[in-house]
């Protein structure tokens, strides 16, 4: 087939993957996650286990070592027979702690130690780089198979020097586009997972199609196939290689079982991307079935390749050369796409997983450590930094894979890399299993186990595989590779257990141990009390990680769950624990822990605290769900009652204050009017004085009128009898008018106005005059009260998913104390008296009434670094509002 057609097909396939990922991301953003969350999609995404090493390499492996190849798939099958009680528990615990990677799991379990996570990340980076190189190589080789068949082969071969580079660059683009779109608290990538699930189908179909062709097309059905296998095995040279070695068999099954749990990409798709543990009910049998289907035809293909293809053909490429030699061009193309899918899906997921580790455990902690003096009002955007760190890490991982590929060059050097990566990540297994099953496991043990495992793996397996150092000297008859694997794992496990027995964990670690082993939620201990003003800095911090909207939504939901209104929940231990774990979902548990401590003030945990906390956790476990719900309901009601009572008390005090305020507000202008009108009657005034006094009378009379207007306005709005003159409005025009009208207030203050003009063009149905009144009032307030040296006013408009519009108006002044934020919308709730000139303190009360009449709301947004108001509007005013049809 022409090489150009191959290239075109390949590009079309890549475009399809981008399209699928984009569509899935969009669907997920709109909340259509039902089919994305299907257990079969999850199962298919698990097939990243079958990389190009499987797709091409399994046949090569089988042709050299016979049935031994099956160990790589029997190990995971063994693990999945324990899906019900083993994997479900792993997923549950990992999701409970919002674990982002295998390194994060280890770190969270052993007292949120980032150093431990950094070591695991190191293993992952060392193990993944050659593994990625192997994938790039497989794509390059498969291209070359077609290129050498092309008439102008040599030229294209020359151009092919860069195939691996192009593939790496394309994959980096894909991964960055769909892997780092957001920093969601639950770290799921619907687009990537869906594309990978589709690629899994392509691989499976391609491989089965080839298998069917081989068994029923080239051979004469299964019986004939078995005969051919037996005939091939009769060759003594083959028989020698194919003879199963029980020690290797056992070690390989052990290592591949470990790999499915610890490989970064497997942990990513199996644990991090899992919405809940329920999907393992299906995956428990469906994933072994997938592996079974991928393995079934491996041996037949190997045997057939050996029989039909010229001696000296590369068995790693039988899957391509076999259909090509038989003249099955379309089948060869399908197989090529299958192999391409296998390689690309592995690289993408591996890059996401390793980049998450590198950014969460290397870059972000380093960055936070460099900026040693934190301040709550730091303006930098952590979220942007984390995302960029992740993007850089993805590029670095890809680049490393490509450089490794170019440097190693040879075929054989890379072929072994799959197993080398498996054994490297397997060194994490003792600490992982121990951490999940044994409360006695501690950090010292984890350091000792993982550390010794890392050293032995480097010395005995990794370095020999790249040609440095030799094999372990072993007695004859023992397989050197098996000896090296068993030695490293046994030393690792013994060191882990030994140091755990002799070490004593600190309280945080003991708490995490309890939580991991008994799968209960730990409660962060806190001495913070109700009304603690540290809620706002915490919100500001969360905003930097998640973005303003997500952080506000989370805080509001938490506050509501506590039965509080507004955006600031009480800093209960429960809330802090949940906040920390949600942050951990974005930046890793060690960093989240450190950041919360930094803002909330690290209260050192004592053993007494620990006992109390453990006691609480135990009790929580024992309580039935119903009791918990009832209790929560009671607490919530009690809180609501208390809040209502507080508010009533406040209101009655305010009512008295209101009357006396009205009296004062009316009498003040009246006093001037009366005094000056009497003065004007006196005969001996200069004309200048006379006219100035008349001017004062005029001004004060105007003030009186305005006040009466405001009072009238308020009483009409409050009684619900307000008439709305609705029409279609463009928010952009209204905001422009409001800014122009408000600019007359303190014109000497040069405000920098920051608007997002394109986003402002939102149309909705409302009363333009009323809305304008609100906008002018809020903007005027900002002009009056913003005390920054260089005042800035930020206006942001957007349309939420529910329709309507949200307008945020934020200045950079000192804002409003959290204690007074709930009072500012009350009548005459003047804030700082010195600046009260001109306003009677009715403005925000009127704004609130107007917004309620329009079916929207206005609220104060805490934690925005200045006074911030949010105006929400529905798409149209409620039908019940006293609106009259537009004339």
């Amino acid at each position: 087939m022409p090489f150009e057609a191959l290239l075109a097909t390949c590009l079309a396939y890549v475009a399809l993957m981008f399209g699928v990922a984009y569509a899935a991301d969009r669907a997920a953003a709109r909340g259509h996650v039902r089919w994305l969350d299907h257990p079969l999609v999850y199962t298919m995404s698990l097939s990243v286990y079958c990389s190009a090493w499987t797709f091409y390499g399994a046949v090569g492996y089988a042709s050299r070592s016979g049935l031994e190849f099956a160990t790589i798939y029997l190990g995971p099958t063994l693990v999945f027979t324990a899906a019900w009680w083993g994997l479900r528990r792993l997923v549950r615990v990992a999701r409970m702690h919002h674990v982002t990677s295998v390194a994060d799991l280890i770190s969270a379990r052993f007292g949120k130690s980032n150093r431990l996570a950094a070591i695991v990340t190191l293993i992952a980076v060392i193990a993944s780089t050659p593994y990625i190189a192997l994938q790039l190589q497989s794509v390059r080789l498969s291209f070359e198979v077609f290129a050498t068949n092309a008439p102008n082969g040599p030229e294209i071969n020359g151009a092919l020097g860069g195939t691996a580079l192009w593939v790496a660059a394309g994959l980096a683009l894909f991964t960055i586009l769909f892997g780092t779109r957001n920093l969601a608290a639950d770290e799921r990538h619907h687009g990537v997972v869906t594309a990978i699930a589709l690629e899994a189908v392509v691989k499976l179909v391609a491989f089965i199609a080839l298998g069917v062709f081989v068994v029923w097309g080239l051979a004469d059905g299964p019986g004939d196939m078995l005969d051919r296998i037996a005939r091939t095995a009769a060759d003594p040279q083959v028989a020698e290689g194919w003879l199963l070695k029980p020690d290797r068999w056992t070690a390989l099954i052990l290592v591949s079982a470990a790999a499915i749990l610890t490989l970064p990409r497997m942990f990513q798709v199996m644990v991090v991307e899992a919405a809940d543990e329920e999907r393992l009910h299906v995956a428990g049998w469906a994933f072994p079935a997938y592996l079974f289907a991928m393995s079934l035809f491996v041996l037949p293909i190997a045997v057939m390749g050996r029989e039909l293809l010229p001696a000296g053909s590369n068995p790693d490429l039988y899957v391509l050369t076999l259909p090509a030699a038989a003249g099955q061009d379309m089948l060869a193309l399908l197989v090529f796409l299958g192999g391409f899918s296998a390689a690309t899906s592995m690289v993408v997921v591996c890059a996401i997983a390793v980049a998450t580790m590198v950014s969460n455990h290397w870059l972000v902690p380093a960055w936070l450590a460099l900026r040693r003096i934190p301040s709550p009002d730091e303006t930098d955007d952590l979220r942007g930094f984390v995302l960029n760190a992740r993007r850089m890490a993805i590029l670095a991982v890809m680049a490393a894979g490509w450089v490794y590929h170019q440097a190693s060059g040879g075929t054989a050097a890379l072929a072994a890399m799959g197993l080398v990566a498996f054994t490297g990540m397997a060194q994490v297994l003792p600490a992982m299993l121990g951490g999940l099953l044994w409360r006695g496991a501690n950090r010292k043990g984890a350091y000792a186990g993982i550390g010794s495992g890392l050293v032995l793996w480097m010395a005995l397996i990794f370095l020999p595989s790249v040609g440095v150092g030799g094999d372990l000297p072993v007695p004859p008859g023992v397989d050197p590779w098996t000896a090296a694997v068993m030695a490293s794992l046994i030393v690792n496990t013994l060191a882990f257990i030994g140091m755990s027995i002799f070490g004593f964990p600190d309280p945080v670690e003991r708490l995490q141990g309890l939580s991991f082993v008994s799968a209960v939620e730990p409660i962060r201990h806190s001495r913070m009390m109700r009304g603690d003003d540290r809620a706002e800095p915490l919100l500001a911090m969360a905003r930097k990680v998640w973005g303003a909207e997500a952080a506000l939504r989370y805080f509001q939901a938490e506050a509501r769950a506590q039965g509080r209104s507004g955006y600031l929940p009480d800093l209960t231990p429960r809330f802090l624990t949940r906040l920390e774990r949600r942050l951990a979902g974005s930046i890793g548990s060690a960093t989240a822990h450190a950041m919360i401590d930094r803002v909330a003030g690290g209260v050192a945990l004592t053993v007494a605290d620990l006992l109390q906390v453990a006691d609480e956790a135990q009790r929580a476990k024992e309580e039935t769900q119903r009791l918990e719900a009832a209790q929560a309901e009671l607490t919530r009601t009690a809180r609501q009652l208390r809040e209502a009572n507080d508010k009533l008390t406040d209101l009655s005090v305010q009512k008295d204050a209101f009357l006396s305020q009205i009296s004062h507000e009316l009498r003040t202008p009246m006093t001037s009017v009366r005094a000056f009108s009497e003065i004007l009657k006196e005969p001996d005034l200069t004309p200048e004085d006379r006219s100035r006094f008349a001017g004062i009378i005029h001004t004060e009379a105007g003030r009186l009128t305005r006040l009466l207007d405001d009072l009238l306005d308020l009483s009409v709005l409050e009684s619900g009898r307000a008439q709305l003159n609705v029409s279609v409005v463009n928010l952009h025009d209204l905001i422009t008018r409001a800014l122009a009208a408000a600019s007359a207030t303190r014109p000497e203050r040069g405000f920098l106005i920051d608007r997002d003009l394109p986003a402002e063009h939102l149309g909705l149905i409302t009363d333009p005059d009323r809305l304008l009144q609100v906008l002018i009032n809020v903007i005027t307030n900002a002009r009056k009260y913003c005390d920054a040296a260089h005042p800035v006013l930020i206006l942001r408009t957007r349309r939420p998913e529910t329709g309507g519009a949200v307008i945020d108006i934020v200045d950079n002044g000192s804002g409003i104390d959290s204690g007074r934020q709930s009072l500012i919308f009350e009548k005459f709730a003047r804030l700082n008296d010195p600046a009260r000139a001109g306003g009677a303190g009715l403005g925000l009360a009127i704004c609130r009434e107007i917004m309620l009449t329009l079916g929207g709301d206005i609220s104060y947004l805490p934690g925005q670094g200045g006074a911030a108001f949010r105006i929400t509007l529905p798409q149209r005013p409620p039908a019940s509002a006293g609106s009259e049809p537009p004339a």
Binding site: S660, S663, H664, R667, T668, P669, M670, T671, S672, V673, R674, A675, F676, E678, I679, I696, T699, E700, D833, P834, R836
Partner: protein, 119 residues
């Protein structure tokens, strides 16, 4: 020259009216426009009479009155005080000030009260 009257009033137009009226009677009238620093202003000026608005920013008229009465200098502490209030608040405030005038006041009433109070 010693100041006769110190007025503590945050409303500029009322302050201007009072100052205009009393200056024409020949008295020297000073002004302080905030509750904060009022007692320091009184200490500095040692006026013969203080006209005090009840509703002031930062520190209310009654608080300033208490501050004044608690001054160490007996002569200063005994300075006569005329309190300006809105009606309804006068009962409480009036018990402590030497005289109380409800806003809005009659110009003659103001002049006569001040004349009566100035020794």
């Amino acid at each position: 020259m010693k100041m006769d009257i110190l007025m503590i009033e945050d409303e500029p137009n009322i302050a201007e009216a009072v100052r205009f009226l009393l200056s024409r009677e020949g008295w020297q009238v000073g002004l302080h426009a905030d509750g904060a620093g009022a007692i320091e202003a009184i200490r500095a000026a040692t006026p013969r009479l203080v006209i005090l608005d009840l509703m002031l920013p930062h520190r209310s008229g009654t608080q300033i009155l208490d501050d004044l009465r608690a001054e160490g200098d007996a002569a200063l502490a005994a300075t006569p005080v005329l309190m300006l209030t809105a009606r309804g608040q006068s009962a409480e405030a009036g018990a402590r000030a030497d005289e109380v005038l409800a806003k809005p006041f009659d110009n003659d009433e103001l002049r006569q009260t001040v004349r009566r109070m100035l020794p």
